[in-house]
């Protein structure tokens, strides 16, 4: 088991390295650097100005060196700019060059500096992830029990009216992407045109204080898209278990249907949904970006959108490290959990 986890961790680090290298290469393409210079400096910069701006900040150097600096394997640059200002990778803006460390990369725990928000990347990410974490937490609290209940009720009597109804409901929710359900929810529950106005169409106030009014719609929007998928998987798994021999034995023994479902079927039927729920996290990440944009909630997703819009290299790298980490860790947990839940499978 330990070897298995170690191997997976190795693959994880390799994946993170490759992905950050790709993000690094894409954000450091000449047109993207030009965009960065123009959004940071002045929209009407001439080509020479752009080159000078980039030179002064060390952007016009070989890609590998810059990537090494970001990782912390290569000493950070110190450039005496043409405008007479001394800039360095490891010198925070406004601070003096004295006492600055030679290396400052991810290995030294320095995530860099966001050009969009003018703050350290780790501060921004911490803050934004806390907000998104709240959103995710509520989504999971709503989505997981709801989807399991729907799936189990549908799967326990395959082909019944209840099954048909719940299955249709699940298939409709899987066909409704967040930007459709979000818009429909806002239209029904928050617009003055319909006039219900039960909830807020914006979650901006939820960043300070979460209330039922401002958080229901975003949570429902994300939860609904994942709900149908998990419910369908649970239904399939439940329906399969219900045809098993031991269920028939229990029935013939005269155990009540309720007891059969709760005591005999449920535990075996929940193995498959566990994996599915874990593998849903990467999808939730997508949903978060859409919903945060739609409901103006300034979490991780909206940071990602803003960073990409202004080519904020170090924030984008930080965000991709975080998201790759989320994806791979959930995969690992789902694999390990699967082994524990199902004694017939072993990793070795």
């Amino acid at each position: 088991m330990a070897l298995f986890i170690l191997r997976r961790l190795g693959v994880m680090i390799l994946t993170a390295l490759c992905l950050t290298a790709v993000v690094f290469a894409l954000t450091n393409l000449p047109p993207n650097l030009e965009k960065l210079a123009k959004t940071q400096g002045d929209m009407r910069m001439s080509d020479e100005d752009v080159v000078r701006w980039l030179d002064n900040r060390g952007y016009n150097r070989p890609m590998l060196v810059k990537y090494g600096e970001w990782l912390g394997l290569v000493p950070g640059y110190v450039i005496n700019g043409t405008d007479g200002q001394l800039r360095g990778k490891c010198i925070p803006p406004g601070a003096s060059a004295e006492g600055a460390p030679r290396y400052c990369g991810i290995l030294q725990g320095d995530w860099g500096y966001s050009s969009r928000f003018k703050r350290n990347v780790d501060d921004i990410l911490g803050e934004r992830l806390a907000l998104t974490g709240q959103l995710m937490l509520w989504v999971l609290i709503v989505m997981v029990p709801a989807s399991l209940v729907v799936g189990i009720m549908a799967g326990m009597r395959e082909g019944s009216k209840l099954d048909r109804g719940l299955s249709s409901f699940s298939i409709v929710t899987t066909s409704t992407p967040e930007y459709v359900s979000g818009v429909v929810f806002i239209a029904i529950f928050a617009s003055s045109a319909v006039g219900l106005k039960w909830f807020n169409g914006s979650a901006r106030s939820a960043m300070d204080q979460i209330t039922f009014e401002n958080f229901t719609l975003p949570v429902m929007t994300i939860a609904l898209y994942g709900l149908g998928y998990i419910a369908r998987m649970t239904r399939a798994s439940m329906a399969e278990v219900m045809t098993a021999q031991y269920i028939r034995t229990a029935r013939l023994k005269g155990v009540a249907f309720r007891q059969i479902v709760l005591r005999h079927a449920l535990r075996n039927a929940l193995i498959a949904p566990f994996t599915v729920i874990m593998l849903q996290f990467p999808w939730l990440l997508n949903g978060v970006v859409i919903v945060e944009t739609l409901f103006q909630y300034k979490g991780f997703g909206s940071a990602l959108v803003e960073a990409a819009g202004t080519n904020d290299i170090e924030l984008l790298l930080g965000a991709s490290v975080v998201s790759v980490f989320v994806v791979l860790v959930t995969q690992l947990i789902s694999d390990i959990g699967y082994v524990y839940l199902n004694p017939r499978i072993s990793v070795t």
């Binding site: 994946t15 047109p31 930007y179 818009v183 003055s192 045109a193 990602l304 965000a319 994806v327």
Partner: protein
């Protein structure tokens, strides 16, 4: 003129869609008449869920082709603005209607006083002309790489699986934000990606033909030459926008959308094909073919692939739906497609800004997208049930 009542709006919408109803009726009549000779497609009509899904999908396909291809069904031009029609409610008569123009905005007007009905229908064309083809290309790439990975295993599998997992570990939206920007188009990266990705369908076709007919050189040469000429022509036109005949025009803005959608979908297809191959290669008929002395590509393409078709067809339907959602996402974030484009994602994005007071500009495309994806999911469900029966 009086605004139309709800019933009148519905009636006029249905009447406007008359060609679609005729086409649907003909399709269903013919399919049910010749049901027993049509294989899996025919069996679909035994399954109510599959039939509803198929009807929804075909509704949008016909609507898209008639509206976008022939210019039927639409009541107004998708870009022309009409004075006094900004954000008007559905069924509002046209103020100062020009001679011969359709006198109403059936589903109202949007923020720029354009007709929501026409934009919704032409938006379907934007989806229908990209989503199925992008999915098809993703399948070609996934199959061409997934078959050998599953069949040979070993180091090849290790490398290809690592690459596939690498792409899958990327959040889709981050990838879109990095790839689908004017700056990236400027560097020509989409063209190079297209140049690589779109080689796979040609390789696929050539290997497919060669492995089957290599014992009959005359036939083989003819078919391979045909595949190369047609494939090469499409390749030049799509990837390099350099069709020597000038028929295929593929602007760079569209190419980047197409390429990134293929790029996102291909790894998942790869994983499915790889898994199926690993399962099927242990069967007796594969061993029989190997004992007969068939080459590895013959075994993969003519023994394993046809036997994996059930799950692949089902996944194909699901994946077109997913691609539709991805295209909507791109439009929603204003990536790739021009802001004036009538595609559903961009229209929803435009409409959501005024959602608190005007609902119709955002709701029409939202329900359109929902119904198309729902149709594809139901169709996939029906196909899955029917293909499991035999």
């Amino acid at each position: 003129m009086e605004p139309l009542s709800t019933l009148e709006i519905i009636g006029r919408c249905l009447w406007q869609l008359a060609p679609v109803w005729v086409a649907l009726a003909v399709t269903f009549a013919l399919s049910i008449r010749f049901q027993r000779r049509l294989g899996l497609y025919g069996k679909l009509f035994d399954n109510p869920v599959g039939m509803i899904g198929f009807a929804l999908v075909m509704f949008w396909v016909y609507a898209a082709v008639f509206a976008g291809g022939f210019g039927w069904l639409v009541t107004h031009d998708t870009l022309s603005q009409f004075s006094g029609m900004k954000n008007v409610a559905p069924g509002t008569p046209l103020a100062r209607a020009p001679e011969g123009a359709y006198p109403y905005f059936l589903l109202g007007g949007d923020n720029l006083a354009r007709d929501v009905w026409s934009r919704m229908l032409v938006g379907a064309w934007e989806v229908i002309k990209i989503a199925p083809f992008a999915t098809l290309f993703a399948f070609m790439v996934g199959i061409t790489l997934g078959l050998p990975a599953g069949y040979y295993g070993g180091r090849l599998d290790l490398v290809l699986s690592f690459l596939a997992n690498l792409i899958l570990a990327f959040p889709v939206i981050l990838l879109f934000y990095l790839l689908v920007t004017p700056e990236i188009v400027e560097t020509g990266i989409p063209t190079y990606m297209a140049a690589v990705l779109f080689l796979f369908p040609i390789i696929f076709a050539v290997v497919l033909i060669n492995s089957r007919f290599h014992t009959q050189p005359a036939k083989r040469n003819l078919y391979v030459a045909l595949a190369l000429i047609i494939g090469g022509w499409l390749y030049l036109g799509i990837a390099w926008n350099a069709d020597p005949l000038g028929i295929i025009i593929f602007p760079a803005g569209l190419l980047v959308v197409f390429v990134s959608v293929v790029f996102v979908n291909a790894p998942s297809v790869f994983r499915i094909v790889r898994g199926l191959t690993m399962d099927i290669k242990t069967r007796d008929y594969v061993a029989a073919a190997q004992t007969r002395g068939e080459g590895p590509w013959y075994v993969m393409l003519w023994e394993i692939l046809p036997n994996a078709r059930g799950p692949l067809i089902v996944d194909f339907c699901l994946r077109i739906g997913y691609t539709t959602i991805l295209l909507g996402t791109l439009g929603f974030f204003g990536l790739g497609l021009s802001p004036e484009s009538p595609d559903w994602g961009s229209t929803i994005n435009e409409g959501r800004k005024l959602l608190s007071s005007y609902l119709h500009p955002a709701l029409a495309p939202a329900f359109a997208l929902l119904s198309l994806v729902l149709g594809l999911n139901l169709l996939a469900d029906g196909l899955r049930e029917e293909s499991l029966k035999d």
